[in-house]
């Protein structure tokens, strides 16, 4: 039998109310044997060979952080691109500075261009936003390079602007391009459905196996650097599962990958139409045959209600938006209900993408109907994202036994913009209403939907507990979580939402030895400083994985 390793620490924050604070945790293999103090665990230590490892003596041990909702494949597409965002991003290989101002943006592009080794490699820059950077045009980008394709992609993903060299690289005929109602060749602009036309040419480059693999390797580093030991791929196979799966296995199922990925596939292709329930179930169950140690399909599936929040396609109930607003449904409501019923009746745990209050309403109407038809306990029906909602919906969630997995970064990044341009202050300040969820006792995790928000759980917890916007003020103080609730939202509540609370999420005897090692104690530094806490690294299934420092 393997030797027991005892990690001593300044503090072990177990997140277990029965024993919240300890200073030693004993691990054998991939499991926790006991948590407490060196004295209290003597019976174990006297009975078995062990070593005391005091490398964390000055550190704080927490349960391994969990992001229950991000998108590795989307990240693999985006991470090889150059970040030129108005807000700073911490990436393992680079601290991306905040870029604000038109000239600053262009300078940044020039700098990237000059630092690229291959003169022909297309320069994909992600993060442009007219509010911060002014408008970009084909002519503007010709000034960056006359020979290298330069592609500037909007922060919210719905527009991109290209230079002459890109048009040439694409091989897109000017006249053909100009025919498209959502392409403006003179301005080099592709938007909304025009993006499909652009990616028709880009995909062979951006999704090329080597670049995609490189993107997944970057994702692997990002996840580790955030301090995660578990993530949920909340739309597994979003581009094409048969293309992505081998790449994911190759990139992530490695001995030195310090995290697991719970694979939650879409319940069906989007778009609707008549669905044959038995086939959907068989297909979904069949996915489990692929499972590896770290990558696991199981009894969780994803459904989609309304459109994207950054794209502004959420379905809003009264009073709608300040300007004319067109929300979208990603699934016809009737199809949504049929498919939800199919999986509900088979005992699946259903996660629903809902961004606007009408999206939430559809999910809850459906859940209520299904509860009436075939009551279930412990079903973990989870509302994902939860951008705009009403307090009554939260109470109804509690009544129906629903959980929430909330994108809290909406408040930070979009709070000011949606106050001024879309929702007004009252509703914008109550986006991602965590406080109400807590008051009603709804199990609540926070997530990043990475790449929608930085994959940094401490940053998510910081926004959850402070609701500080990018402009620096507090929006919706009554919707803040307490520090403790915020830390739970990235540990045990996130484990609960993923249905893994018996294995991970807290530190107690019998669970997986997954830890995040912090250099400061969140409970001492306070909510305002959460995102500044340095992370030493993680322990995944009993093995320490330090984060390699830059330089």
């Amino acid at each position: 039998m393997e030797k027991i390793t005892v990690y001593t620490a300044r503090a072990v924050r177990t997140m277990e109310p029965s024993l919240p604070l300890a200073n030693a945790v004993a691990v054998r293999g991939d499991r926790i044997i006991e948590v407490g103090s060196l004295e209290s665990m003597q019976p174990w230590l006297q009975a078995h060979p062990h070593t005391i490892d005091d490398r964390f003596a000055e550190h704080v041990i927490m349960p391994g952080f969990i992001d229950p909702h991000l998108h590795p494949s989307m990240a693999a597409l985006l991470l090889p691109m150059h970040f030129t965002t108005a807000l700073e991003w911490k990436l393992p290989w680079q601290d991306v500075p905040s870029t604000r101002g038109h000239n600053e943006f262009l300078d940044r592009l020039k700098e990237i261009d000059q630092n690229m080794e291959d003169p022909d490699e297309p320069l994909f820059a992600w993060g442009h936003h007219p509010i911060w950077h002014g408008e970009m045009y084909r002519q503007t980008l010709n000034g960056i390079s006359a020979t290298r394709p330069v592609i500037v992609w909007h922060r919210g993903f719905h527009t991109l602007v290209v230079n002459d060299a890109t048009v040439e690289w694409m091989g897109l005929d000017e006249v053909e391009g100009e025919r498209h109602p959502q392409v403006n060749m003179a301005e080099g602009r592709f938007f909304e459905t025009g993006l499909s036309l652009a990616f028709r040419y880009f995909n062979k480059f951006t999704l090329a196996p080597k670049r995609f693999a490189d993107g997944l390797e970057r994702l692997r580093q990002v996840v580790h650097h955030g301090g995660h030991t578990t993530i949920g791929d909340m739309a597994a196979g979003m581009f094409d599962l048969e293309m992505e799966w081998p790449a994911l296995v190759k990139a992530l199922e490695r001995d030195d990958t310090p995290f697991r990925v719970q694979m939650i596939p879409p319940a069906m292709p989007l778009g609707g139409g008549k669905k044959e329930g038995a086939k959907l179930i068989a297909r979904t169950v069949g996915l489990r045959e692929r499972n590896t140690h770290r990558l696991q399909f199981y009894d969780h599936i994803k459904l989609f209600a309304d459109g994207g929040f950054y794209a502004g396609l959420m379905q809003l109930g009264p009073p709608g938006a300040i300007e004319e607003h067109h929300g979208e449904w990603m699934t016809p409501p009737e199809t949504f209900e049929d498919v939800a019923r199919t999986f509900w009746n088979e005992g699946f745990r259903i996660h629903v993408h809902c961004t606007g209050d009408m999206g939430v309403e559809l999910a809850l109407d459906t859940l209520e109907k299904l509860q009436w038809e075939r009551p279930r306990f412990n079903h973990r029906f989870t509302i994902e994202h939860f951008g705009v909602s009403t307090p009554e919906q939260v109470r109804r969630m509690a009544d129906l036994g629903a959980c929430a997995s909330v994108n809290i970064y909406y408040v930070h990044e979009l709070g000011d913009a949606y106050w001024k341009n879309k929702l007004g202050h009252e509703r914008a300040s109550q986006m991602s209403r965590l406080g109400t969820l807590a008051r009603h006792g709804v199990p609540t995790a926070v997530h990043t939907d990475f790449t929608m928000a930085p994959a940094l759980p401490l940053t998510s917890a910081w926004v959850a507990a402070t609701r500080i916007t990018e402009a620096g003020h507090v929006m919706g103080p009554e919707e803040r979580l307490t520090l403790d609730q915020a830390m739970r939202a990235i540990t045990n509540e996130a484990a609960y939402v993923l249905g893994l609370e018996h294995e991970i999420g807290t530190i107690r005897a019998g669970k997986k030895a997954d830890f995040t090692i912090l250099e400061q104690d969140p409970y001492e530094v306070g909510a305002e400083n959460l995102r500044e806490i340095p992370i030493w690294g993680t322990v995944f299934e009993g093995r320490p994985f330090p984060i390699k420092k830059l330089k």
Partner: protein, 315 residues
Amino acid sequence: MTAASGSGRIPVTVIGGYLGAGKTTLINRLLADGHGRRLAVLVNDFGALDIDARLITAHKGDTINLANGCVCCTIADALGDALDKVLAMTSAPDQIVIEASGVANPAKIAMYGQGWPGLRLDGIVTVADGESVRTRADDKFVAATVRQQLAAADLLILNKTDLLAEEQQTAVCHWLKQQAPDARLLAASFGDLPAAVLLGQLYSGDGHRDGFAAHDAYRTASFQFSGPFDRERLAARIKAWPAGVLRAKGLVYLDDDPGYAHILQLVGRRYSLEQGPAWNGDTPASRVVVIGTDPNIDPEWLRGSLLSACNTNLQ
């Protein structure tokens, strides 16, 4: 490419409408109809299609080939990929029909038809379930979606009229016209509309098929003119045509660009005139075919309308 064969772009017809309106029935009919054209039909799901198994010559994954030359493909979340697949087929189809999802805004789907290289938009056909459309248009979840679909239509099909009493039909027609003031409204049951109305006429050499023997409710009228048209006057005349005109198609000789044939398209009120191939050796002449509801179009009146946009009166 000769002037007679048109622009060389494959026309795309988008079929929209809410879940259950009858889009699939319409598509099933188009696939079974002996209209003689090779359609590529892009659907969300094969599940609801009702294709006679004896007609299927091949079924591979997301593509079904039919004996009549038509092919069906699933869209599977990536319309662009599906269009590229069709464009890569060894023999290009005569026309592409896209079934929009039940919650899609067909106007958005139509942008693919309008802007994808090698394609051009024919028009948007929205199908409305005569029984339920008004309830849906007030539904808590889909009201805006349904109204958007109706407003996007060039041709609006009031379907399931077999289930409506006459006064119900009148009332719903009246209401639909308010929702889609730009559309031409047609009544149908089980999607029983001729392909020529839904998809337009085919150019087939010199003699085009009339094809409305079984459909007394519709008729075509065709016109030839040797003199050149004035671009502005032609547009003005056609835009003023009565609601009985559903479609028109033509090759037009224009006085401001006499070297090239121009392709005239009218679907509902969606009018376009685009430069086509050069006349080259052909004698420039215009030919226009109009499809309308009978007896609501008057060929003589239409001829007069067109003639008044012509610069020489040699007909």
